[in-house]
Amino acid sequence: MPQFDSLTADHALEFPGGYTRSVGPVIGRFLTELRDGRLVGVRTAGGRVLFPPVEYDTDGTPVTGEFVDVGPECTVGAYAWVPRPRPGHPLDRPFAWALITPDGADTAMLHVLDLGVFEAGAKPPKTLRAGLRVRPKWRAERTGTVGDIESFRPDVTMINAPVRADYRLSAGRALSRFLGGVAQGRLLGHRCGVCGKVYVPMKGMCPVDGVPTTEEVEVPDTGTVTTFAVNNIPDPRAPDVPFVSAYVLLDGSDIAMVALVAGLPADEVRMGMRVRAAWRPREEWGQTMANIKWFEPTGEPDVPFDDIKDHL
């Protein structure tokens, strides 16, 4: 802070209308080609191609008059990620400055690298790296300035293809009965009259014996994890990534069903863990398995492997 009552005034330094500069034949040629949507470099006496063109090589030798088409394919060298653009910057959302060397050139140009739309303050995207292949994005109206290139954009390496087909599915007799039970908070199955195994949900037949099943059995909503997988790809039905999908062998049934397991860190789920269904509030129930959000640990001791080894 001022040590005394100091007078201050706002002040601007400006050339109203801008400062007029002549560009000469070398830079002028480059800017003229740029206005026409072409990238050119200039050849040095030693055979290198300087881009953007300048009048002298770095060793002081004048360049030749030979202009060479370069690009449009270019490679990124050094780069700087701007998480919060400043007022004078060319984009008002995060972007990178980059040294960009067109194919066929031996030196690089500083320009803007547009990697897409990011929130202010975003961390550098993983796609940003030296060696990235890019091409210029030209402005529709060009005037012969370095800004005739709006930015450089990465080459197309992926597309996003929409996929969708619509259906109206019938659950069938057995599943309708099962989901009717779920709508009341009950888990129903069938016992096979031949092998005695209990299937939850029931199919109305025993896939082992190939016979119809009709004996209805109700099982509790507790069970045992027989095996599981940790998923790192988000799924709208699951809690946060990573989430766990597991085989849960309900008590009294012989065939495990696939369900989500939550309520503990993914890396603490284990084979043999005892779990109980976590039901949504009753007023949200319908004829759907979504009534059960997922299964959660009961805290009981784990079941020995030998007791579940036939249910993997």
Binding site: M1, P2, Q3, F4, S6, T8, H11, A12, L13, Y19, R21, V23, I27, L31, L50, F51, P52, V54, T58, G77, A78, Y79, A80, W81, V82, P83, R86, P87, G88, H89, P90, W97, A98, L99, I100, T101, T107, A108, M109, L110, H111, V112, G121, K123, P124, A130, T145, V146, G147
Partner: protein, 351 residues
Amino acid sequence: MRDIAVVAFAQTEHQGEDSGLSEVELLAPVITEVKQSTGLSRFGFTCSGSLDYLAGAPFSFVSALDAVGAWPPISESHVEMDAAWALYEAWVRLRHGDVDTALVYGFGKCSQVVREDGESGLPELMTLQLDPYYLAPLGPDQTSLAALQARAYLDAGHKEDDLRAVAVRSRAAGRANPYALDLAEPGEEEYEVAPLRPSDCPPVTDGAAVIVLAAGDRARELCERPAWIRGIDHRTDAHAFGARDLARSESAALAGERAGARDVEVAELHARFSHEELILRDALGLGDDVRVNPSGGPLAADPVMATGLIRIGEAANRIRSGEAGRVLAHASHGPCLQSNLVCVMEAQNHG
């Protein structure tokens, strides 16, 4: 040819915000200080380094002469560069042999470069020094360009933690230096421009510095332990970043080689961004046994246009205090360490 030595150095207690003083008011006390410490009131030559763009007025450096006292007319010159280059010009002038003393000063009041939104406009101001055809129209600010060089350096096989270590050490040293800013230990910070964080960047600083050079016997009369300039050289790289390897500094290496950058105990480097210190250490061949920027360096106080001269003054102080026998000072200007000056000083006068 007579040897030239630094015989006096003074600097302001640098400020991180506008104290309300004008440039001349910043400068006058330090010039008075060296006049008193040397007993000199007139100098054979006077040379200054400053930047009119910091004041927003052409020829603003002329009014700074009010702080010197220029009547009857003095022999005077100015460089629109860091005042370390003014010192180089004064050194050349003294080598002519017809004058024995020179006054060199630099000043910068960065706090008054303020954007319309009230934030510091110093990073944008530095855009005006760039090539007006290919660079300035895009609007790259000084921090963005430094970050570009930092990335080139990291991609050559270094780690971001190396940058953090420079920032932490520089700020700690600055807190111990009464002339530098009192900046907190860096904590968790978002990127300013990745890979640089705010503590990797120089603080906006107001300040001034002055050095008196003297030749031969005159130096011995004016100072008990002069810091003799054993070698001084400056070199420049291409302005176009795309035409040079940003991970290295060839011009610093060449200037260092010609100035005799070896066997030094202390080095004061004009490294305004963390990675610049590391690039300069490589270029100048400074080993782990060399104390680098014990003053805190530019990361602890950066009065632009005086920052490089302060490096020479701080390094000379290590000689004058008897702490070191051979020291190195470095100054830089232009984007991405474009130009570099190296000055090697010794306690021993071999001339």
